[in-house]
Symmetry: C2
Subunit: 229 residues, 2 copies
DNA sequence: ATTTAAAAGTGTAAAAGAAACACTTATAGA
DNA sequence: TCTATAAGTGTTTCTTTTACACTTTTAAAT
């Protein structure tokens, strides 16, 4: 006897992406203005539908790439939202993903969307459907992840100053941190490379640039190292 | 212009449940022997398909209740698994949920499944499809949750001893804990009620029984209390 | 009645980690 | 050469976590 799948309901499975960016000041999300009904003209996350021949991770990458031109971006599945009437047009389920991108280095890549815009989390507009709840959940996941995985670097340029890193953590965790304690904590992790090069833009003295040493981090991971901010 | 949903692929959306139980010794999961193809005769999580008129939480509750008779059970959505060929019979996506139940008090309720069985996590059999990976993920989520939310009590009888609680935490976290440190940590949380009653089964002296004080916990939550083991 | 055995119950000291805190240095630009 | 500005740097205090062992209670055996 074969289980009879044919009687079961099939549904549309959407993928929506919360795209986080950081401009050195504020944590931001990328939103688009919908140019189709329902909810035309309102702000929304970018999204699309899963195709039969791809898995959700692939769909998320495709959708992000198609709408923004972005490639090779950190993404993580967040949660699947399934309220019956979440999309008034049709019964859809949506699996939310969040993505972390460095705004600076991808500044010119938003080729396919005229109507996309970065918003500071604090003054982001109201979103369609259940997208506000998706963002909420993404923010709290991001807080947790940045404390336990070195993913903050995904939001920064390749080279960054200690102050930029601290500002990033302060924005994500939504709290002020002590400069000396932060610096020594980060240094104690021993997963950054301090460059000879300085960023002279922010002060007269200039401040040293760092990069994340992914190789060293992975090596330490294997030896039982636990990342913890 | 309305977005044309009709061109998009629809898929079967399954729900699979990792059911955790605790017998005072080991952390266990409830599995069933499949009596239909594919993979007939192999062990599997319980599962079913989402119906059009319900959301995933409801589906998970329905599926758990239908196959086990269990009701009013702690459940949480875990992750959505979507590998293209995860089910060889047909393209299905599966959202996994995990449930926590107290084995003792629900001992006689497994009415609808002749072939269900509790397995210690350590010597659970190999499972069909991607169910092993689901269990892995559920275990790690459970570890995290028990450290940060008072959900361990869901796995214990209404009244329990301090030692039972410690054994539970040791099983979930997979590490030995110090009795004195554990007791004072739990007492410091101040969310248990110590009963006059003793459990005389485990020793000559007998050990005091406790219950979780959900009301007090919720009141403390509102005042900013953070649960942390 | 007394002894025995077995788990329950309890506190303190040492170590580690987190938090608070302020002055010196380097350098561009005036 | 003076000035203004952010960068860079250690120590002390407090809090939290860990390590550790003896006494108490009582049922069961003698």
């Amino acid at each position: 006897m074969l289980n009879d799948y044919s009687k079961e309901d099939k549904v549309l499975l959407a993928v929506d992406c919360i795209i986080f960016g950081f401009d050195g000041e504020d944590l931001k999300i990328l939103l688009i203005k919908r140019d189709f009904e329902p909810e035309k003209g309102k702000w929304s996350l970018i999204g699309g539908f899963l195709k039969k021949e791809e898995n959700l991770d692939k769909a998320a990458i495709r959708i992000l790439n198609h709408l923004t031109g972005l490639d090779n971006i950190y993404m993580e599945q967040l949660y699947t939202f399934s309220k019956v009437d979440r999309d008034p047009a049709e019964r859809t389920i949506s699996t939310a993903y969040y993505a972390l991108i460095d705004i600076e280095s991808h500044n010119n890549e938003f080729t396919n969307v005229e109507t996309s815009k970065w918003f500071s989390l604090k003054n982001a507009p109201d979103l369609i459907f259940d997208h506000n709840r998706m963002v909420e959940r993404a923010v709290s996941r991001l807080k947790y992840r940045t404390k336990t995985k070195p993913i903050g670097f995904e939001l920064l340029p390749e080279k960054f100053t200690m102050l930029q890193l601290q500002n990033l953590y302060e924005s994500i965790l939504n709290e002020k941190l002590d400069k000396r304690n932060f610096t020594s904590k980060i240094n104690a992790l021993d997963i950054l490379i301090k460059l000879k090069e300085k960023d002279m833009g922010s002060s007269k003295k200039g401040s040293y640039l760092y990069t994340f040493d992914a190789e060293k981090y992975n090596k330490k991971l294997k030896e039982g190292f636990v990342f913890k901010i």
